[in-house]
């Protein structure tokens, strides 16, 4: 567990040795040698998990698409011929007929209802959605697991208090809270991330709490305590590494949830403020104009959203398969 290894260093499984190249005796020896080597340099938990993850085809395809979408968000702007606010006056009034995706005039994805370049806007929307989703998702899980660890480790009053806060948070309808917050404190990306963390801070809390509760009674924690380590050090050095897998799995579930939440709120029109945009806002605009036959305005953002969510779903699935001991 303490020294993670790269797959190159790990000896191959004995079964995978080519059998035809060796005679029966040598093959036997080779297998024995491999087994012995494996005993010396045992695979760490993380190397093992990485192996399983890399073997999961759907998860790898998911990773590929997510990387593509990230590249699109990072460098897609370079290829945009217009900026997100610029109105193409030459197309105004005939968006329906001539505003579609077009390679000659530089509107790769067509233009939106107001004649703004949709490609530039999708790049911008992808940036906002990914930023909000990843930042809010990761931070929420971190906060949730810290509180979960505290609740599980100390128990008693502290636990009761945190669990009460947990239950109250869960019983507040989040859409309502979100709308109220945005109405009061303005609609910026920062406020959005903030309110999502406030709503989602419980992510992963219950499961880390349970993990810590079982881990804290194990011998190695007793030993650490006998050596006089402080609570903080015990949690950070001895308990946290042993439940990191739970946190990783939970993060992978929370990020698409956060992206979805952001999109839903933007869809309602109380999310990100114009001229900035996000997937949800773009889908909403596209949905409101689809009656006029300008379908590309709905399809491009919806496609990005769907591909991203499918990919993240399979990545999360692959991580769970790779990391969860129950799945093995």
């Amino acid at each position: 567990m303490t020294n993670p290894q790269t797959p190159e260093q790990t000896p191959d499984n004995p079964e995978h040795h080519p059998r035809t190249m060796f005679g029966a005796r040598r093959q036997h020896e080779a297998a024995e040698l491999a087994a012995a080597e494996e005993m010396i340099v045992s695979r760490s938990f993380w190397a093992d998990a990485r192996r399983r993850f890399v073997k999961n085809r759907m998860a790898m395809i998911g990773c590929f698409f997510v990387v593509l979408i990230f590249l699109f968000a990072a460098f897609g702007g370079v290829f945009a011929q217009y900026n997100i606010e610029e109105i193409d006056w030459s197309l105004l009034g005939k968006v329906e007929t001539e505003g579609g995706p077009n390679l000659t005039n530089g509107h790769w994805f067509g233009v939106d209802e107001l004649g703004r370049d949709l490609y530039a806007r999708v790049v911008q929307g992808t940036r906002v959605s990914l930023l909000v989703g990843f930042v809010a998702g990761i931070t929420s899980v971190m906060i949730g697991s810290i509180f979960g660890a505290i609740a599980g480790y100390y128990g008693g009053r502290t636990d009761q208090f945190i669990m009460a806060a947990y239950n109250i948070t869960l019983s507040i309808p989040y859409i309502i809270f979100f709308v109220v917050w945005q109405a009061f404190f303005g609609r910026s990306v920062t406020q959005m991330v903030l309110v999502m963390i406030l709503i989602n801070w419980t992510a992963g809390l219950l499961i880390t709490r349970g993990q810590v509760m079982t881990l804290k009674n194990r011998e190695f924690v007793d030993a650490a305590r006998m050596l006089g380590l402080s609570d903080l050090k015990i949690i950070a050095r001895h308990i946290l590494p042993n439940m990191l897998w739970v946190i990783v799995i939970y993060t992978s579930i929370t990020i698409p949830d956060a992206i979805m939440m952001e999109s839903l709120v933007s869809f309602l029109g109380v999310g990100i403020q114009e001229p900035q945009t996000s997937w949800g806002a773009l889908i909403s605009e596209g949905a409101s104009t689809m009656t006029y036959g300008t379908l590309w305005q709905l399809m491009f953002p919806a496609l990005f959203f769907a591909v991203n969510q499918i990919s993240l779903y399979y990545i999360g699935d692959g991580l769970r398969d790779a990391l969860d001991p129950k799945e093995r």
């Binding site: 309808p173 859409i175 309502i176 709308v179 109220v180 309602l268 779903y313």
Partner: protein, 310 residues
């Protein structure tokens, strides 16, 4: 059982009061208000307006009056932006609409989700099972705000079968799409839960006993397996019911059904504090009540919980 009900109900009250107080102060702390506009009102008129709505009084007095009106007169106060209406009117106009499609959506989720789950469990690894799993993944990836436009695209624009929005007094054609769009993702979850729960129950020793004594599969399913199968489904129903109500925010905006969700979003735009507050309270109270109801139903059905309460 009675004691449990009583205790749970009592525990809800302080939470709701807490929530009202927090919302109230959040609202007053936020900069700007329903009367701040680009052209500021003359001070004398502003003072009159504030007095009319009781906003000139100290905060704690305002809070006290607000709470008193809610609990003793069931009055949520006047709307700040719609001069001739108060919050009660807005709720009275929109809430029946929300309840109607929320109810049908819940019916849709249960009436389809449970049988689908049962079929998938009985024919494990069959085509049905795969279709259902695919549907479950699909509904997670296409949340209702993506699904609803696609539905309108198909059923209204392409085939012209159903109206793409509006309410028209709740005629059935107008209810279908909101109810379905609201329920789809939960339908998939209910089916999934039913499936795994039934599979677990069917593996239990008492089902083997029932088979061993020669009962027909149908009797085993209906008499012995169904009730324990539904327990996890029931406990899952509380978030579903809650969502059937809060989801109205999205449904009303997209389908223009005219439920309370639309008023809520409008109020958020115009900073109509009393409407936001009133509706937020309504949503929260409904959430608590529905959660309580589901918990009680669960307690009434599950013998383990029931005996534990005595």
């Amino acid at each position: 059982m009675l004691q449990y009900t009583f205790r749970r109900t009592l525990a809800v009250l302080p939470t709701i009061i807490c929530l009202i107080v927090i919302c109230f102060f959040l609202m007053r702390l936020a900069p700007g208000g329903p009367f701040t506009s680009e052209r500021p009102l003359p001070p004398a008129i502003m003072a009159n307006v504030l007095e009319r709505y009781g906003l000139d009084q100290p905060l704690h007095v305002q809070l006290w009056t607000y709470l008193k009106n809610i609990f003793f007169h069931f009055d949520f106060g006047p709307s700040f932006s719609q001069r001739d209406r108060d919050v009660n009117d807005i709720i009275a106009a929109g809430f029946p609409v929300t309840l109607t499609y929320g109810f049908w959506s819940a019916v849709f989720v249960l009436a389809l989700g449970i049988p689908l789950g049962i079929i998938a469990a009985l024919r494990q690894n069959s085509l049905w099972d795969y279709i259902m799993t695919g549907f479950a993944i699909f509904s997670q990836i296409f949340p209702n705000f993506v699904l609803a436009p696609l539905m309108v695209l198909t059923f209204t624009l392409a085939w012209g079968l159903l109206p793409g929005g509006g309410w028209n007094g709740g005629q059935w054609e107008y209810v279908i799409m909101p109810a379905v769009a609201l329920g789809t993702s939960y339908l998939a979850n209910v089916a999934r839960i039913t499936r795994s729960s039934l599979l677990e129950v069917l593996g239990a020793p008492y089902i083997r006993t029932a088979r061993a004594k020669g009962l027909a599969e149908r009797t085993i399913l209906w008499r012995h397996a169904l009730k324990p199968t539904l327990l996890p489904v029931i406990s899952y129903m509380s978030p579903v019911f809650v969502y059937m109500i809060t989801g109205s925010v999205f449904i009303d905006v997209f389908f223009s059904t005219g439920g309370i969700g639309q008023s809520f979003i409008d109020a958020a735009y115009t900073r109509d504090y009393s409407v936001i507050l009133g509706l937020a309270i309504l949503y929260s109270v409904l959430t608590f009540v529905l959660n309580l109801g589901v918990d009680l139903a669960y307690a009434a059905i599950d013998p383990k919980v029931r005996s534990g309460l005595k």
